[in-house]
């Protein structure tokens, strides 16, 4: 006898336009809404990065039209130093929160988690709808900061107190900063609702035969990420509440005594700026793993499909992701080595930070090791997945430097840090997003994306992002300080002589920055190919079959796009592990999870089943 889905008993397919496309409780619609919001945020964030890069190397360049967005920040279109910082703050905030958490996690996760476990929807569809709209409100509040008096805040996405807690400490630090704090607090609530759904659905709504170990790796990644997020956002929310109170209610959680801003004594006293840092980074470090783990899961899922053979160890990937999630809560102090906290704690935090390299290395070794002897299929999705491995290695390796407090003494606050986190978050995680899009667009929209444009997009992005972010590390090595709106330090203007293979030339750090800015503009332009491809294919792409990539997991066992209840009223039963590719003795080169075909699988423990 099969389980009655109480869910299906509750909702019939929606009829009205509003119920179908706007206030929908269908996880597929919600997933696409999150994806769309993330896409909007990444385009805004990318434009902001262009403005930043242009200002850094061509400070007197007038951006046409910018003066209408902010006449004080960009008089005549020329960006002022404070406006640079304001653009930088919004760039970071939009990218970290509204792109990296929204797309690989909330976007793809919402769409595919229920399908991959054989469920009809999430456990709490109405909470799910609420979580999106709450996130959307948070987005609107954040963007509103562009349009208020002084503009957006300039304290960075990290919003350190007291700069962020004293309204008079700079332009944008009044209304703009308050809007920022409200937006992020709202975002936290949206994410908490979302995580609640993910965890409950994974635990309770798996179909018959879908044991935890039979879930695909991306499902595992979403599950682990939502566990991390549940506890992390639950700490950021109090931090934002306390910050808002400091700003508007006269409390002083973060503002110490005897501060003098603009020659005036600040009225608050007794608070601790380090308290903000601890609360923020206790959230902030798990947050970066929230940003990368779903991408790692998606990439694992796509890689194994393109390898046409199972990974060397399914369990190792799962346990490594779990280990990373667990360790992520122990390392937050590595953002605070030089913050004035007890120097002994620096050593305490450094150790787990270095140890987290172990599961990360295992992931990379398994991805690469499984490629040995495989039958690699190249398509847009697998290109980005392979590119992810390269970017993850590059970004991870630079982290190794920053994990050591003594080296951090020199590299903290330099472009080396910027290079590191952009490689892992700004490139690797985004590659996961692209890979997922090319892989799953046929399923979500019922149409294939154009492969040629996809490949052009890959090449431009792969080479372009290396050109942008690898040089940041060299700039960091010479001590180029970050978050500067202009480069006025002497040594940056000085050309360094280079002798290479008989060639002699000289390059100054400023010229390196120019190269980076040009690469950034070029790479950004390449992304427009992706957007065009996405939109064009949505309407004009070749209709997609049910299983275009010959995948084994349950999302390929239903139509493209799936019906409103995912499986047409008949929940699948699962008989196999998720990645039965290239099984000897099977009828084809892959066996789907819900296929009743009997195959002999040699499990990891060598047991033949």
């Amino acid at each position: 006898m099969h389980e009655l889905s109480t869910h299906a008993a509750n909702h019939a397919p929606p009829q009205s336009f509003l119920r179908k496309y706007v206030f929908s409780v269908d996880h597929k619609v919600i997933g696409k809404q999150y994806y769309g919001l993330g896409l909007l945020a990444v385009l805004i964030g990318m434009v902001l990065s262009w403005l930043m890069r242009i200002h850094l190397v061509w400070p007197n360049f007038a951006i046409p039209g910018l003066q209408w967005l902010s006449s004080a920040g960009a008089p005549g279109g020329v960006i002022t130093p404070e406006y640079y910082l304001q653009l930088m703050t919004m760039h970071g905030t939009l990218m970290v929160f509204f792109v990296l958490t929204n797309v690989p996690f909330a976007g793809f996760g919402n769409y595919f988690l229920p399908i991959q476990i054989g469920a009809e929807d999430m456990a709490f569809p109405r909470f799910n709808m609420m979580s999106f709209w709450v996130t959307f409100v948070g987005f609107c509040v954040l963007v509103a900061a562009f349009f208020v008096g002084d503009g957006p805040p300039l304290s960075g996405w990290t919003a350190y107190a007291p700069l962020s807690a004293i309204p008079g400490s700079g332009p944008g630090q009044a209304t703009g900063q308050t809007l920022w704090a409200i937006s992020i607090a709202t975002f936290c609530i949206g994410q908490l609702l979302g995580s609640l759904n993910f965890i409950t659905t994974t635990l309770d709504l798996r179909t018959k035969g879908m044991t935890l170990m039979r879930m695909p790796l991306c499902t595992w990644a979403w599950f682990i990420t939502s566990c991390i997020g549940l506890l992390a956002f639950a700490v950021l929310l109090p931090a934002c509440i306390l910050l808002i109170l400091d700003r508007v209610a006269g409390t002083s959680f973060f503002v110490p005594s005897n501060l003098v801003v603009s020659d005036q004594l600040v009225n608050l006293s007794g608070g601790s700026p380090l308290l903000w840092q601890h609360l923020f980074w206790f959230f902030g470090h798990p947050e970066v793993y929230i940003a990368i783990l779903p991408a790692a899961g998606i990439v694992s899922h796509i890689l194994v499909n393109s390898y046409r053979r199972p990974l060397l160890s399914h369990k190792a990937i799962i346990y490594c992701m779990m280990a990373i999630g667990f360790l992520s809560y122990m390392v937050w102090g590595h953002h605070m080595f030089l913050s004035g906290m007890n120097p002994f704690s620096a050593l305490v935090f450094s150790f787990p930070t270095l140890v987290i390299t172990i599961p990360a290395t295992i992931l990379v070794l398994i991805w690469i090791g499984s490629l040995y002897g495989a039958n690699l299929q190249i398509n847009s999705a697998s290109l980005f997945a392979l590119g992810f491995i390269s970017m993850f290695v590059s970004g991870g390796v630079s982290g190794f430097f920053l994990a050591q407090p003594s080296i951090d003494v020199y590299l903290h606050g330099t472009y080396f840090v910027v290079g590191h986190f952009h490689m892992v978050m700004g490139v690797a995680a985004i590659f996961g997003m692209f890979a997922g899009t090319y892989f799953w667009a046929p399923k979500m929209f019922g149409r294939m994306m154009n492969e040629t444009w996809g490949k052009i997009h890959f090449w431009g992005t792969f080479v372009g992002t290396y050109c942008i972010f690898m040089p940041f590390h060299y700039l960091g090595m010479i001590g180029n300080v970050r978050r500067y709106s202009a480069f006025v330090d002497d040594y940056l203007q000085v050309p360094q002589p280079v002798s290479l293979l008989g060639l002699h030339f000289s390059v100054s750090p400023i010229e390196v920055h120019e190269f980076i800015s040009i690469a950034a503009l070029f790479t950004g332009a390449v992304q427009l190919i992706f957007v065009y491809n996405l939109i064009y294919s949505r309407f004009k792409g070749t209709p997609a079959p049910e299983n275009p990539w010959q995948g084994t997991s349950l999302e390929w066992a239903t139509s493209s796009p799936p019906p409103w209840d995912n499986f047409g009223g008949r929940l699948p039963v699962v008989y196999h592990d998720p990645y039965q590719y290239g099984i000897e003795g099977a009828s084809g080169d892959f066996v789907m999870q819900n296929s009743s075909e009997h195959i002999q699988t040699v499990r990891e423990d060598k047991k033949v089943i």
């Binding site: 869910h7 549940l230 639950a234 700490v235 929310l237 409390t251 959680f253 007794g270 299983n547």
Partner: protein, 213 residues
């Protein structure tokens, strides 16, 4: 390309329940989803983490300067604690009355609803009485920004009261379902787990505030 074969299952149409009359309940054999129970535990984990973060903020703040300024603990809070615990008692009575349907085929919803109304009344009393505690503080000149001790007092009690109001809304939902005669055991379990947790959380806050402010 081998196609996946579904095990043929047809979803049964939701069983038509003939409601014998307002206020009555009839036991319906529906496989209950565990989701509300699981979900509530996860929500409680998040809420615990939030209050843990506020607790550590308070401890750090208390140690970071000399301006803590202790004040006298409002006595009414003990009364409020009793009220909240009593509401958990009435809620448990309601659950016991409801669970009789596990053994009987049908019965009356009225006794359960009455117990729940009692819980609601006590819960609302708690919230109003918390407000009274604030009034007392204000009469002593202690506002949100007066001192870090009073700041945290207001923050903790306000957030807890907000969550209690959330629990009230949950119970209202349960009562509505009972009036209509269709209530899943797991939904009721989830709402009452949440409510009891509010009591436990309050006990924790009581001890924390009593020893610190």
């Amino acid at each position: 390309m081998p196609h996946g074969l579904f095990m043929a299952t047809t979803l049964q149409a939701p069983p038509t329940v003939k409601l014998p009359g307002p206020g009555s309940l009839r036991r319906v054999i529906l496989r209950d989803s565990d989701a509300p129970s699981t979900g509530i535990w996860i929500a409680l984990a998040a809420i615990t983490m939030t209050f843990a973060a506020f607790t550590s903020a308070m401890l750090v703040r208390q140690g970071s300067a000399n301006d803590w300024r202790h004040f006298s603990f409002p006595i009414i809070l003990y009364f409020n604690t009793a009220v909240l615990f009593a509401s958990s008692l009435t809620l448990q009575i309601g659950r016991r009355r409801f669970s009789r349907f596990d053994t009987e085929r049908h019965g009356e919803a009225r006794p359960t609803i009455t117990a729940l109304y009692g819980t609601l009344a006590l819960g609302c009393t708690f919230v109003f009485a918390q407000y009274a505690a604030w009034q007392q503080l204000r009469s002593e000149g202690l506002y949100l920004s007066s001192a870090p001790s009073s700041s945290f007092f207001y923050v903790f009690t306000a957030l807890h009261a907000l969550h209690v109001i959330g629990g009230v809304l949950g119970l209202v939902y349960v009562i509505r379902k009972l009036h209509r005669g269709v209530l899943r055991t797991n939904t009721f379990a989830a709402a009452s787990q949440y409510w009891h947790f509010m009591g436990l959380l309050w006990l924790y806050l009581l001890v924390l505030l009593r020893t610190r402010i």
